[in-house]
């Protein structure tokens, strides 16, 4: 049976989605690992603890959520490493391919026929650095093709649009679905895409996102980064900011800065297509960095103070922010697979 798979190879989480009847089956692995020397009893230790690992014969790599546990058990001795950085394969990490290829192979398996497809997302063009996607994209395609899959690549912001269905009301009152701005606030990057009737029109990405905020807050408040992340995930509520708490205050300030930066840069891109979009636009937001309470209101408050070249109909927060991108990728995978099958059928008939 043909498989259609959505894949979000995120900086923080590696997510894969597949349709299962009327539901969606999502598998998530933390995109991280630690390295351990191949000692005599290492395999015994690993299997006793039920830690997930891979080995290239020289070293052992504990991957996923377990890597975090091990890194916490040996602070300062074992470094938590990440295959991705700033939305692309981490150029400073030589084991990135080993780890990510193994993750993908284990989760999706090999293709069963010529119509199986994997749709994955990449970042749009970056506004604040010269990170080029070509190598990253080709490597990920190589990973999927190696397992026998066809591939389809979409922008991450586009995936949010496909999953969340923003609607634009035309001047004659008709609705144009999948038209609006999709924004994914990820760990490595923020990705924005303006789409019209499902087609991406413009896109951009910026590295001022979750990891950037964590790092800056840690630096400014002299707080360990793990503690900053903990406070962000458990205590941060933009509707109730405790301004006496340095970390909370700094998080609030850097989130404001990120939102402002993203919208200002997106506005520059938008100028090119401004004349085609008079109607107010829906903005849909998703991604792990959008998870703190009150984030939607925070976005609304920040953009209210900006002079944007487009009108905003509403700011919507995905009902499932962490899975919106992979759902969008799965949506595109199924559509592309249907096209692939009909093309194959036409070729047979000819």
């Amino acid at each position: 049976m043909s498989k259609a798979i959505g894949w979000d190879p995120g900086t923080m989480f590696f997510q894969v989605a597949e349709k299962s009847g009327s539901k969606i089956d999502i598998n998530v692995v933390r995109n991280a690992f630690v390295e351990m020397d191949a000692t005599e009893d290492i395999e015994q230790v690993l299997s006793q603890n039920k830690w997930q690992y891979i080995s290239d014969g020289k070293k052992f790599y504990i991957i996923g959520e377990d890597s975090l546990k091990v890194a916490k058990m040996f602070p300062g001795k074992i470094e938590l490493r990440r295959p991705m950085q700033d939305g692309v394969l981490n150029k400073g990490e030589d084991k990135k391919m080993l780890v990510m290829t193994k993750m993908l192979e284990d989760i999706i398996g090999k293709s069963t026929d010529s119509n199986s497809i994997v749709c994955f997302c990449v970042s749009s063009d970056s506004v604040d650095n010269d990170i080029d996607n070509t190598f990253h994209k080709a490597r990920l395609e190589g990973m999927a093709k190696r397992l026998g899959y066809n591939t389809k690549v979409i922008d991450e912001g586009h995936a949010v649009v496909l999953a969340e269905r923003p609607v634009l009301i035309e001047s004659d009152g008709t609705e144009s679905p999948y038209s609006g701005i999709g924004i994914s606030f990820g760990a490595g990057k923020v990705n924005c895409v303006l789409a019209y009737k499902g087609l991406p029109i413009i896109g951009m990405s910026a590295t001022r996102s979750g990891d950037y905020i964590d790092k800056k807050v840690a630096e400014q408040t002299d707080t360990p980064i793990a503690q900053v992340i903990g406070i962000k995930e458990t205590k941060l509520d933009f509707d109730n900011i405790d301004y006496d708490d340095d970390v909370i205050f700094a998080l609030d300030a850097y989130y404001s800065n990120m939102i402002e930066y993203v919208f200002k840069n997106f506005s520059v891109k938008f100028q090119k297509v401004k004349s085609q979009f008079d109607a107010p636009l829906d903005i849909v937001i998703a991604g792990g960095t959008s998870m703190p309470k009150g984030f939607r209101n925070k976005v609304k408050a920040v953009i209210n103070d900006l002079d944007l070249p487009f009108k905003i109909k509403d700011v919507k927060h995905s009902s499932d922010p962490r899975n919106a991108v992979v759902k969008g990728c799965l949506t595109q995978a199924i559509i592309s697979q249907k096209k692939l099958k009909s093309t194959s059928a036409e070729n047979i008939l000819e």
Binding site: D25, N27, Q52, Y53, S55, E65, M97, T101, G142
Partner: protein
């Protein structure tokens, strides 16, 4: 993978690799040559330093030292020595031809000799325009690129073993079918 690209709008050749790259053509040298051959190439080094060839991606290859030794032992051809011999021969011929005393015609076939030397000198070095060309976007067929990466990925994970990966699994309700039906009409 040792992926290089011609950044210029003209064909350039790397004589010591006997390789001609068309305008903006890219190639994975690891497919045609051993890494040692590619890294030894003076023509390649020279063209890279002039900016006419850019290295798009170069992965590390770990080779057992015993294997390297074996390769050296079996590599009897010494291009450097041959080049030196030919150059010495040429100097002798020129000296003979330019001397005051008439000499008998050299027995060396000059045309053949010139051809051999030309084939050994990296042609890229003779280009008159010394300005470094702009680094242009190299156009490589996406399918070819994906195939190259697919092979590389396979090499990287060769022999890798491990436990099964346990994922956090979630099954969620979804209106994805409605979205797909709607999008099929739009896209």
């Amino acid at each position: 993978m040792f992926f290089i690209a011609n950044t210029t709008k003209q064909s350039i050749s790397i004589a010591d690799l006997k390789l001609i790259l068309g305008p903006r053509q890219a190639i994975d040298l690891d497919i045609r040559y051993t890494r040692e051959q590619a890294e030894k190439s003076k023509g390649l080094k020279s063209l890279i330093s002039k900016g006419m060839i850019s290295v798009k991606n170069k992965t590390e290859i770990v080779v057992e030292s015993s294997f390297i030794q074996e390769v050296h032992n079996h590599n009897d051809f010494d291009a450097e020595k041959m080049k030196t011999d030919i150059m010495n021969g040429l100097k002798e011929v020129i000296a003979e031809n330019t001397s005051v005393q008439p000499k008998p015609q050299p027995s060396i076939d000059m045309a053949e000799l010139a051809k051999m030397i030309a084939s050994m000198i990296p042609q890229g070095q003779t280009v008159q325009n010394n300005t470094v060309p702009q680094d242009e976007e190299v156009k490589v067929n996406d399918d070819i690129l994906a195939d190259i990466h697919s092979r590389t990925v396979s090499k990287i994970v060769e022999g890798v073993e491990g436990s099964d990966i346990n994922c956090e699994n979630k099954i969620i309700e979804s209106d994805i079918d409605e979205n797909i039906n709607e999008l099929e009409h739009l896209l």
